[in-house]
């Protein structure tokens, strides 16, 4: 075997790359993982949700060692207007279970831990190295990678591209189309540090319980997007994201401007009061949905995670899809290599089948039209939250007006704002997109 030859090269050390590299190493393959950051997680935006199920399938006892912040016992979904919010809160003591389902994590720490697992499983991991292009043989078959370091290229039977939404290789090697502004969201996040006791008190939490708030409405100034707030152990992650195309086409706002407004909102401000801001970071999220998924396999290569646009924007899931696709890709590759097969496009297609059979593609498919619906009906992100808040206020304010008249006011206002046709149409379109 050549010195610089590996069974597989994994490009990137985010959730999908780590899942792939770990799985391959566990199966006994000779794996090289190449990360461009100084360490795994160094390029990652802090503060995120970890979905236990996807990781459990890779590292069953991850809870014993992974750096987890809080497990989530309460979900708040808020429709916001300028003065407040109307929403749904769901909280249950059932979430205080042996193996909680969702956690808040700090990505920098979590990714570092995951990367350590990868190394302990036997993979070779190098950092601060950018894969600049794929190495191909005369027939175009991918046989390795070139990097930005001096020296020879590195060869492998297969290259797994887990390089994220904006990966260099995907763009330069013509495997994927250029990113379209309407297929990618720009999210900005901040970490706000507060003592644990303060967070516990503000959100009515004890032990490692955590809360997630997801919000939409006038805070995005008519753009399609959502804001969020997660409680970590000693910090709060707060952020907002909108489609890149909307920043140029719809609003005048900058991402940072939107975040400042969100933080100053009466419903949010008090939750963050007295905190110290640490990090500010921006991140691209592929939200093009099902229709944006690129070619996933070819001779000697496959694509996983964000690079494959595997993000469920409606449910704000991404890292679980990333880990799952990473694992499925690795399992496919391991099966092929261990049975002496070649990593041809034909053989690697088993990965695509596995993704289709999983929740990943089923969910992606379910929401394949929601994107188009929101794009055409931008008013829904602005108008309906406004109406809901107005309706709630009309309903709860005790002011001598009888309840029957209040009902009529609410209906009339909705009618006036959107018209009966509009209301029915929105409902119908949403149903169809949701189905």
């Amino acid at each position: 075997m050549k010195q610089n030859h590996f069974d597989a090269i994994v490009v990137g050390a985010g959730p999908s790359g780590n899942a792939a590299a770990y799985t391959l190493a566990q199966r006994g393959l000779n794996v090289l993982q190449i990360e461009r950051g100084e360490y795994a997680g160094s390029k990652n935006v802090q503060g995120a949700i970890l979905y236990a199920d996807a990781l459990e399938k890779i590292i069953p006892d991850f809870r014993d060692e992974a750096p987890l912040e809080r497990h989530i016992v309460e979900q708040r979904v808020w429709m916001m207007d300028d003065a407040g919010h109307t929403g749904m809160h769901h909280r249950s003591d059932d979430y205080n279970e042996d193996k909680p389902n969702r956690y808040t994590i700090l990505r920098a720490q979590f990714d570092k831990w995951f990367s350590r697992c990868v190394k302990e499983a036997g993979a070779t991991v190098i950092y601060e190295t950018t894969v600049t292009s794929l190495m191909r043989d005369a027939s175009g078959w991918v046989v390795g990678v070139h990097t930005d370091r001096n020296g020879e290229g590195i060869t492998a039977d297969v290259v797994i591209l887990a390089e994220g939404v904006n990966g260099l290789v995907g763009r330069t090697s013509g495997l994927r189309e250029e990113l379209k502004p309407e297929n990618v969201a720009l999210a900005v996040k901040e970490m706000h540090f507060l003592p644990q006791e303060v967070i516990d008190a503000r959100f009515n939490l004890k032990g490692n319980e955590g809360v997630v708030i997801e919000a939409m409405g006038t805070i995005t100034e008519g753009m399609v997007g959502t804001a969020f707030l997660y409680t970590n152990r000693e910090s709060i992650s707060v952020g907002i994201g909108c489609m890149v195309s909307d920043f140029t086409d719809v609003g005048q706002a900058t991402p940072h401007g939107l975040l400042d407004r969100f933080k100053a909102h009466p419903s949010i401000r008090a939750l963050l009061e007295g905190s110290e801001i640490k990090e500010y970071a921006a991140h691209l999220i592929p939200e093009g949905g099902y229709r944006a998924i690129p070619e996933l396999v070819g001779n000697g290569w496959l694509v996983v995670g964000d690079a494959g646009h595997f993000v469920n924007a409606v449910h704000r899931e991404g890292s679980n899809l990333a880990m799952t696709t990473g694992r499925l890709a690795a399992e496919t590759v391991a099966d092929i290599i261990l049975s002496g097969g070649s990593c041809s496009r034909h053989n690697l297609a088993a990965y695509v089948e596995a993704v289709k059979d999983s929740f990943v593609m089923k969910d992606m498919k379910k929401y394949k039209d929601i994107h188009g619906f929101l794009k055409k009906g931008r008013h829904v992100v602005d108008l309906y939250p406004r109406l809901m808040n107005r309706a709630a206020q009309t309903w709860f304010r005790v002011d001598g007006v009888d309840k029957k008249s209040k009902e009529s006011t609410i209906v009339r206002e909705a009618w006036r704002a959107r018209g009966i046709g509009g209301l029915m149409g929105d409902a119908f379109k949403l149903m169809r997109a949701w189905r």
């Binding site: 070779t124 601060e128 190295t129 020879e152």
Partner: protein
């Protein structure tokens, strides 16, 4: 040439925070780096090795985690890495640290031969003392060459070296003998980007790990807290001044008005300064 490079893993000081409420250091999540001043010595060592042949051994004393920094040094091209780690070293001040490192260097010399040069960082960014390098030199009887901006001549076979050394009012050109302990000035070179082969080798290389006994340190009275003549009696946040700044120019119509308000306030508080500035301005 045989070269040893002492490095230290330090928290990236740019990212250290003090807890807003408890005023304690929040170490959680603060990334660690190789002390930036150490990299100038490492690069100089690599250049000398490339020129004369030989090998570069990087070493440090620290917690097991410090092997990350040693591995990083290997990706730059160092040949070997040694970590001295033992709970006995916890709480070492500079004297105890130089004791441990001098012993580490002795032990390494027994294994791989005497070094021609030991590079240390000019100072660390977390301690800022600049004492450990001189301490090592003293203990091992090495020629001490600190604040070196360039190595002009070196002849390993005759053991001679000529360096430029940054002094307070100029540059000393010093001729001396090896073996030497050298600290390099910042900016004297730029750490290289290791080759892909170095990165691959570093990823799977073994970092040699020694505890106190393995490094031949038997007198633990010289180590850690016990071996440190200095005692930290108190750590505290700087007292905040009673009075905060008087804000000037609030509600002023334009920058010029703010500027005039401010100048009036400045000279009201420093009446003599105005005359002095006037004279200074007149001299211009």
């Amino acid at each position: 040439m045989r070269i040893f490079v002492c490095i230290k893993q330090v928290p990236d000081s740019a990212q250290i925070r003090v807890h807003p409420v408890t005023n304690t250091i929040m170490r959680q999540g603060v990334p660690t780096i190789i002390n930036p001043y150490d990299l100038f010595g490492l690069e100089e060592a690599l250049r000398l090795r490339d020129r004369f042949g030989g090998e570069v051994t990087v070493m440090t004393m620290g917690p097991p985690m410090a092997s990350d920094s040693l591995r990083k040094a290997l990706t730059y091209g160092a040949d070997r890495a040694v970590l001295l780690t033992d709970r006995f070293f916890a709480g070492s001040d500079t004297l105890a640290t130089s004791y441990a490192l001098a012993n580490l260097i002795q032990k390494a010399s027994e294994n791989w031969g005497q070094p021609d040069i030991v590079f240390c960082g000019k100072q660390t960014i977390d301690g800022d003392t600049a004492q450990v390098g001189p301490g090592i030199a003293r203990r091992l009887g090495l020629t001490q060459l600190t604040y070196v901006s360039s190595i002009d001549e070196i002849d390993p076979s005759h053991g001679t070296i000529t360096v430029r050394r940054r002094a307070d009012h100029g540059v000393q050109v010093l001729q001396s003998r090896l073996p030497a302990m050298i600290t390099m000035m910042e900016g004297s070179n730029e750490i290289r980007r290791g080759r892909i082969e170095d990165a691959l080798r570093a990823a799977s290389a073994e970092v040699v790990q020694w505890n106190a006994a393995a490094a031949g340190i038997t007198d633990l009275g010289h180590c850690g807290l016990r071996g440190s003549p200095t005692v930290v009696k108190k750590v505290f946040a700087p007292p905040s001044r009673e009075e905060k700044a008087t804000l000037v120019g609030e509600g002023a119509a334009n920058p010029a008005a703010v500027a005039n308000d401010l100048i009036t306030q400045i000279f009201a508080r420093q009446p003599v300064l105005e005359g002095d500035l006037m004279h200074a301005a007149a001299r211009h």
